[in-house]
């Protein structure tokens, strides 16, 4: 048999079909280009210019913005603070969410209540909640320090001291994220077949920790991976609480990436420089997503 006889002709669309295909995808494609692709490309382009808001002209300056970033002490602090913030918020809210999910799953009563209570911060308005935190953490009238005073401890000035401000913001971040992670973990837990726990018991996993190691933790793998990535990206994006509570202060002790970007762009109107910060932010988020899809996913799905 000749090769030509074996090879099947590739299916060819008629011109009409192709046109219909383009027309059907057009609304989504246009929205994608206008809302996502064009702004992203514009930001990338802006990052290589000295454009300032309201300026009538701009010039191409190559990598100068990025060179300045390397020298910029403020940016260095923002990057370090963001990494520190993520390093606290991500593990604490992932492990905390998992622990709470396991507790709620193991309990017999009030599941819906606890789920709702811990999920409330996720659905509440971050700015309004930040105002509530401002009151809670207030050095003189705040309930937290009032409680500490009854034990004879002089509470620090949580949001105005450069020693505690990042920790305080991270605590708020944990509070905001833990309910979301909890709900994701609860969903993941219900997907684990009950029979595996019975099998583990029969196989000799008599302690709760053994069953957690043998069944729960490995089978939660895909959920955990998703929760870790989503929590890290959410934590890298921290902005609301910083903008409302500290404006990056005191003395840049709570300066984070997105707040630095906002300040450069909309306080100092240096849009080109601000775009360069955005690109750094984008690179971090993309790296996290890549880590999830490429490196980890292969080791966590079993079927």
């Amino acid at each position: 048999m000749s090769e030509a006889a074996v090879a099947l002709p590739a299916p060819r669309l008629s011109a009409g079909e192709a046109l219909a295909g383009w027309m059907l995808t057009a609304p989504a494609a246009i929205a994608f280009v206008l809302m996502l692709l064009a702004p992203t490309l514009a930001t990338i382009a802006l990052a290589f210019t000295d454009y300032e808001l309201g300026a009538s002209a701009l010039s191409w300056i190559g990598l100068e913005n990025f060179a300045e970033l390397l020298q910029d002490r403020g940016f260095g602090i923002a990057l370090r603070n963001t990494i520190l913030y993520v390093a606290i918020v991500a593990p604490a809210s992932v492990l905390g969410g998992l622990a709470l999910a396991l507790l709620i799953e193991a309990g017999t009563r009030g599941r819906a209540l606890f789920r709702a209570v811990f999920f409330l911060p996720v659905v509440s308005l971050p700015v309004a909640m930040a105002a509530a935190w401002q009151y809670l953490l207030h050095p003189t009238i705040g309930p937290l320090n009032a409680a500490l005073r009854t034990f004879g401890i002089a509470g620090p000035n949580w949001l105005s001291s450069s020693d505690t401000v990042l920790i305080s913001l991270a605590a708020i971040g944990v509070w905001e994220n833990i309910g979301f992670n909890l709900v994701l973990f609860l969903a993941g837990l219900t997907a684990i077949p009950r029979e595996l726990y019975a099998a583990a018991e029969v196989d000799g996993a008599s302690r709760a920790w053994d069953r957690f190691r043998l069944v729960t933790w490995p089978l939660l793998g895909p959920t955990t991976l998703f929760v870790v990535t989503i929590t890290m990206t959410r934590a890298v994006r921290v902005f609301d609480s910083v903008a409302v509570l500290t404006q990056g202060g005191p003395n840049k002790a709570s300066e984070v990436l997105l707040y630095a970007m906002y300040e450069e762009g909309f306080t100092y109107f240096r849009l080109g420089y601000s775009a360069a910060i955005t690109l750094v932010f984008l690179a971090i988020v993309l790296a996290l997503v890549w880590l999830q899809t490429r490196v980890m996913e292969r080791r966590i799905h079993y079927v």
């Binding site: 099998a199 196989d203 043998l214």
Partner: protein
């Protein structure tokens, strides 16, 4: 050697009594099948024996030890689940090793990386792997040791579950419908393998199934369960030929046993549709006369049943009839060459040996029969 001994087990799920004082004794090395319709409590009974469910009342002894209040891990049993319940993240080898690792290694030795550095871990792991390989080889799993359950067929997963059960030489095997997820031909083949494994291991086995052919072919004794009770426990032949309860008679046997409404007078003479059928029973009142399809023959005299259809099954014929005066459907099993004995008009009389007649009283309990003649016919 001791077997499994269950005494007066009761279990209540939210107001429904799933087990009503069940007692079951499995001799050392015996294979007992629990069979019954779904919802009869057979799986619950098995899970109580395994310790996955806690009974409300009653006691369980396994291998001579009182285990009622012990956790599953302390009972020295192995269980095969309907879903196989393999750990999806572990390879075949690791899956089979779990029961050994859990018992022979302490928590520190089981730690990844670190555990291997502890004294004794290497030697213990080596013997575990040797035992695992041996169990895997005996089930033909040798070439699949490094695969994950997701890469195996249903039959192969089933073997891994079996290997995980036999690797530890437990005091009892508990199997919960292990074949029901397999296709028909594989099921018949695996039946024989499970029986062979049981013979080789000589371990007391409780096997739950809803499939009576599995129960009858595999078990030393069959326990027929219904509504949370064991109705009868006896050898497969006895359960089939000598059922003590009408529900056992109707559950065991395919096609279903023929049942005819009957009446015993004060003299004990049994009548079907007003006609005496040649026997006297102990008792009086409403009775049920039950006859296996193969225990009835077409007779020449009388015209009592209309033939509604004939099914050819290869080795036998099933003749579907309807009793003329009672309207009851009846099934007759004949040898294929006996087709000619059916009269051409489609009407047939039936005769049966009294010795094969099973009579049950109004409560469904078997009553003794005294034959007045060797044979009777239904007219």
């Amino acid at each position: 050697m001791h077997g499994i001994s269950v005494e007066g087990l009761s279990k209540d799920f939210g107001g429904t009594q799933v087990l009503r004082g069940v007692s079951l004794h499995v001799a050392a090395g015996e294979f007992v099948a629990l069979v019954g319709p779904s919802g009869c409590g057979k799986s619950t009974l098995l899970r109580c024996i395994a310790g996955i469910e806690q009974p409300d009342a009653g006691s369980i002894r396994i291998g001579g030890r009182e285990v009622t209040r012990l956790r599953p891990s302390g009972r020295d049993v192995a269980m095969v689940f309907q879903s196989y319940a393999l750990y999806p993240h572990l390879t075949v080898e690791e899956n089979i090793a779990v029961p050994l690792a859990m018992r022979r290694l302490n928590a520190a030795q089981r730690l990844p990386f670190l555990g291997t550095l502890l004294p004794g871990t290497r030697a213990a792991r080596d013997t575990i792997m040797r035992d695992v390989r041996q169990a895997a080889e005996s089930l033909g799993l040798g070439p699949m040791l490094s695969r994950r359950p997701g890469q195996l067929s249903g039959g192969q997963r089933q073997r891994v579950a079996l290997a995980r059960a036999i690797v530890r030489h437990p005091a009892a095997f508990l199997m919960d419908e292990p074949l029901s997820n397999l296709d028909a031909s594989l099921r018949v083949q695996t039946r024989r393998e499970i029986v062979a494994i049981h013979k080789a291991a000589g371990v007391s086995t409780v096997y739950v199934t809803h499939d009576q052919s599995e129960a009858l072919t595999m078990a030393d004794r069959v326990a027929v369960m219904q509504a949370g009770e064991i109705l009868q426990i006896a050898s497969p032949t006895e359960v089939y030929a000598d059922p003590q309860d009408l529900r056992v008679a109707t559950f065991i046997g395919s096609p279903r046993i023929n049942t005819l409404a009957a009446e015993a007078g004060a003299d004990g003479v049994l009548r079907v549709a007003g006609q005496a059928v040649g026997m006297r029973v102990a008792g009086s009142g409403a009775m049920t006369l039950a006859l296996r399809p193969e225990d009835m023959q077409p007779a020449v005299a009388g015209l009592s049943a209309a033939v509604e259809g004939v099914e050819f099954l290869g080795e036998s014929l099933l003749v579907h009839l309807r009793h003329a005066s009672l309207g009851t459907p009846l099934v007759l099993r004949l040898a294929p060459e006996d087709r000619d004995t059916l009269p051409p008009e489609g009407k047939v009389a039936l005769r049966f040996p009294i010795a094969r007649a099973l009579v049950f009283d109004g409560a469904g309990k078997r009553v003794a029969v005294h034959a007045l003649s060797p044979e009777a016919s239904l007219v």
